[in-house]
Symmetry: C2
Subunit: 301 residues, 2 copies
Amino acid sequence: MKLNILGCYAATPREFTNPTSQVLEVRGHLFLIDCGEGTQVQLRKYKIKFARIKHIFISHLHGDHFYGLIGLISTFRLLGRDADLHIYGPKGLKDAMFFLLKIGNSSVNYQLIFHELTSEKSELIFEDDKVTVHTIPLNHRVYTNGFLFQEKPGDRKLDINKVMDYDIEQCYYQNIKLGKDVLNKKGEIVKNEWITTAPATPKSYAFCSDTMYEESIIPIIKGVSLLYHESTFLEEHEYLCEKTKHSSAKQAATIAKKAQVQQLLLGHYSTRYKNLEEFKDEANTIFEKVWLADDGKSFDF
Amino acid sequence: MKLNILGCYAATPREFTNPTSQVLEVRGHLFLIDCGEGTQVQLRKYKIKFARIKHIFISHLHGDHFYGLIGLISTFRLLGRDADLHIYGPKGLKDAMFFLLKIGNSSVNYQLIFHELTSEKSELIFEDDKVTVHTIPLNHRVYTNGFLFQEKPGDRKLDINKVMDYDIEQCYYQNIKLGKDVLNKKGEIVKNEWITTAPATPKSYAFCSDTMYEESIIPIIKGVSLLYHESTFLEEHEYLCEKTKHSSAKQAATIAKKAQVQQLLLGHYSTRYKNLEEFKDEANTIFEKVWLADDGKSFDF
C-alpha cells in the first residue's frame, strides 16, 4: 500500500497547508479519503491521475473534510469522465452535491453513485476480489466514520524450480496458486506446501479522523499495518479534546498501543503549533513507531 | 479605486491559476467579487484583511465563480467574526450555503445577510454616502449579473488661501464643501465657485463575467473608468462563443469601444491558451487601452 497525504491540517486552508485529503494506492485502486477545499489542486500538484479515482470516502460533513468535493465532481465532468464515481459518506452529502449542481444548471455526464452511511456500527461498504473497506464509527461532534482498508490474502507463490522438479503440467499452476494439491505427470500427488511459499501478509490501513479518544475502535483496527489517527492537540491543550471532540498526540498513541498496530501516523494538527516534532515526541512516550503526516509526503508500507 | 485580481481563469483551479475572484478597494470598502474555489487562500496570500470584507457579489452559480464561498463563510466563523456579511447573488445561493452549513451541524456567529437577485433589469443593490452598486444583466448559460461600482461625486475642495482672503468663519467650511454660497464676517455673500475647486471625477468599475457579446449592457457601462470584460476565447475559437455563451477578446474590445469606456481589462481566459499576450493583441485591433488581468496583479485607476 502507498499513502499520499494531500492535506493533513485542521481548520481552513492556508497558503502552505491544506485540509484533510489522502490518496491510498492499493492493488490497482486509488482511493480518495476526504476532500477538503483545494484537493483537486493538490491532486494535480502531485500528478495523481484523476481518471483512476473511482471511489471517494468522506468521513464527516465538516467543511475541512468535504468542501473540495463539489469542485472535483465538476472537474471530472469538464474532463469528459465516463467512468462511474462512487462516493461513500454521511447522509446529506448526496443532496448537497446535487443541489449545488442544480442551482448552476449543471449535471454530470458519468454515473455519480452515492453510498449514504448512517450506521453506528462498523459495516462492510466496499469489496472486490482484492480489497475490503469497512467503516470505523468515530466519536466527533457530528456523525463520523473512519475507514479500514484491508487487502485480501494474495495467491500462494509458485517455487518454479520445485514445480519443475516435480514435473507438473502448466495447466495446474493456477490451482497451485490457490493452495490446491495436484497430480504430476506420473499421477503422483504433490502437496501444495512442497512447491509454494506463503503469499505476502495482507496489508491494512485504518484512517481515523476526526475523533476524540474512543476505545471502541480498538477491536476494529486491531493490528493494522498503519493507523492514521488524528492528533489535533498537544498535551498542553488536552483540556480542549473533550469539548471539541478531537484527540491529543498521546491519546492517538494510546489507541495505537492498545490496538497493537504496527505503525502510527499522526495528522490533523491544529494550526496553532509551529513545530510538528512535538507531536512525535509526545506520542513516542507511549508508542514507538510514530510518523508525522505532512502535505505532499508519501508512505509505503 | 484599486482592483486586486485573485483569480481570472476559466474552468477549474490548477496549481498555478485560479478561478474568478477579485477584490475592489473603493472609498474604504473591500468588495469581493466572485469566489471560486481557493479564494480564501488567495486572500491570505495577498494579505487582504478578511475582517474588512463586508460585501460579496456573486455573478452566477457556476462552480468556478462560487465554490470557494462556503469555505470563506466557515472561515469567517472560525476567526470569530462578528461584523455582518452581505452576500449579493442569484436565488438559490442562500439555500445552498445554509444547506451546507446545516449538514455539518454548523452555523455562523455573525449576521449572514443574503440579497437574492432575480431581476432581468439593472437594479441598485447597494448604496451608501460614497458608493453605489448596480447589477448589469449579462447573457450566459445561467442567470448572471455583472456589477457596476460607482463612486459618488466627492465634496468640492476648499481653496484655503481664498477662504482666508474672504475672511470666512470656520463653521461654514462644511457647507462650502457641499457647494453652498456663504456669508463672510462682514455679511457679504461669497460665491462658492470663488473659493472652491471641483472634486475629483468619480471613478467607476464594471465587472462583466461570464457573458457572450451583449450590446444591451452598453448603456449601463457607458464611459466607465475601467471595464473588466471576460474574454474566454481568441478569434480562432470564436465559433465556440455562441454555444458556450462566452466572449472573445475582440468582442470584449468591441463592447469597450461602443461603450466608450476609458480602459478595458481582459480575463476569464480559457486554460487552452499558453500566451495571454495574444488576447491583448487581438483586442488592440479594436480598442487601444487594453490590460491583461492575471492572478496576483493589481490595477489602480
